[in-house]
Symmetry: C2
Subunit: 248 residues, 2 copies
Amino acid sequence: METLSSLKNSRVMAWRSLKDRKGRLETGSFLVEGIKMVQEALASDYPVETLLLQEGFTPAAPLPEHIPAFLLPPHVFSAVCDTKTPQGIAAVVRLQPRPAAGPRLIALDQVQDPGNVGTILRTADAAGFDGALLAPGCADVFSPRVLRATMGSVFHLGLSFPAELPEALKDLRSRGYAVLSSQLDGEPFFERPPIPAPFVLILGNEGNGVSPAVQATATHRFRLPMPGRAESLNVGVAAGIMMYDLIR
Amino acid sequence: METLSSLKNSRVMAWRSLKDRKGRLETGSFLVEGIKMVQEALASDYPVETLLLQEGFTPAAPLPEHIPAFLLPPHVFSAVCDTKTPQGIAAVVRLQPRPAAGPRLIALDQVQDPGNVGTILRTADAAGFDGALLAPGCADVFSPRVLRATMGSVFHLGLSFPAELPEALKDLRSRGYAVLSSQLDGEPFFERPPIPAPFVLILGNEGNGVSPAVQATATHRFRLPMPGRAESLNVGVAAGIMMYDLIR
């Protein structure tokens, strides 16, 4: 296995650039860190391009032989990784998600907090949803913070990145999907008539909610009741409550 | 209004210490930042001891005259505040929560992430819960990050800090509360028989769940179904799903 010891090595520099969206778009790849995320990547449909190991790290299972692997001294491995105390293994993965398809989808409209985006994908995966549409303005799914918050669920969901979310939702609607918007002026969510799949649940921006152009595409508009005194719910929590109620 | 211009002023130093648990315990007070949080503090049962204003900040409404107020130049105000871009107003509040009481309670067992603790309190408030028991080992409710994540809900809930959570839960149980533990080996949550109030819902540590000594006090043990491929849910999301289902 080849060792790369210099921070100025061109490959090392390319891997370091994957922390930023620009670097990911230029190379068409992203970096996952840690044992679980690398296992999830290897088990997924995403092509794993390269494995990176910190000197001294011993994999629990043999690594796939057809994937190029490099050994990095600790200071180089740390520079490539985003986590403060990396586990000693990382993988460069081709940015090649399968598109969102299936009867149960979510759509994120400018959900900006990386933790919220990651948590929503994790919950969608747990609830058995099929995929997510992510509008421009959402935190980048393939950024280190979102990837961590997904806990591997990024590899389980179809993911689409429509340039115009309203157009994508209109298209789903024309194909028979119920388009569900969560907004403060909607109808009480728990009093809704049954909504059979296929459906797509829209979650909006942390401060401003679902944007008007996206609201306009909805077949149903709902709000969660708040019998207490809080004025709003965290969007990740609201997403979880609604997704779990929709699958009951 | 007195102006305090020195970072070495003893009062300024005391306020700066409120970012840390040690400083809060020594002074018996905590600091809230921003217009909304100060309004919530003033409207609450918590005694507000002091108001802090950045030079140039104009309150939208007159400040209560009986509360001492100080004017701070920007560099001093920023040093007292935890937020990167403070809004110009903060308040020193007496650490004097009303105890958790009422028919719908939550109990947090070593929930360590400040964002999770704050989000759970916000959701509990939204869902109309009455209060929260926080075991030692939880993120400190009165730390800047938890306070921010509560979005003001910290002022709406009763809060108790039992030294021994199992003892506190046994006491609630002896007073007729159903004690509900959320754990991966529990019964399917959505198939439960109706559980009338009073009840207390226990949420556990992000990695390890509800600790065995706390599980042992439960009258009911539940798990949320995960028909998809994720192995777990974020504790704040799980809390929201269960709280909202319990109040339906």
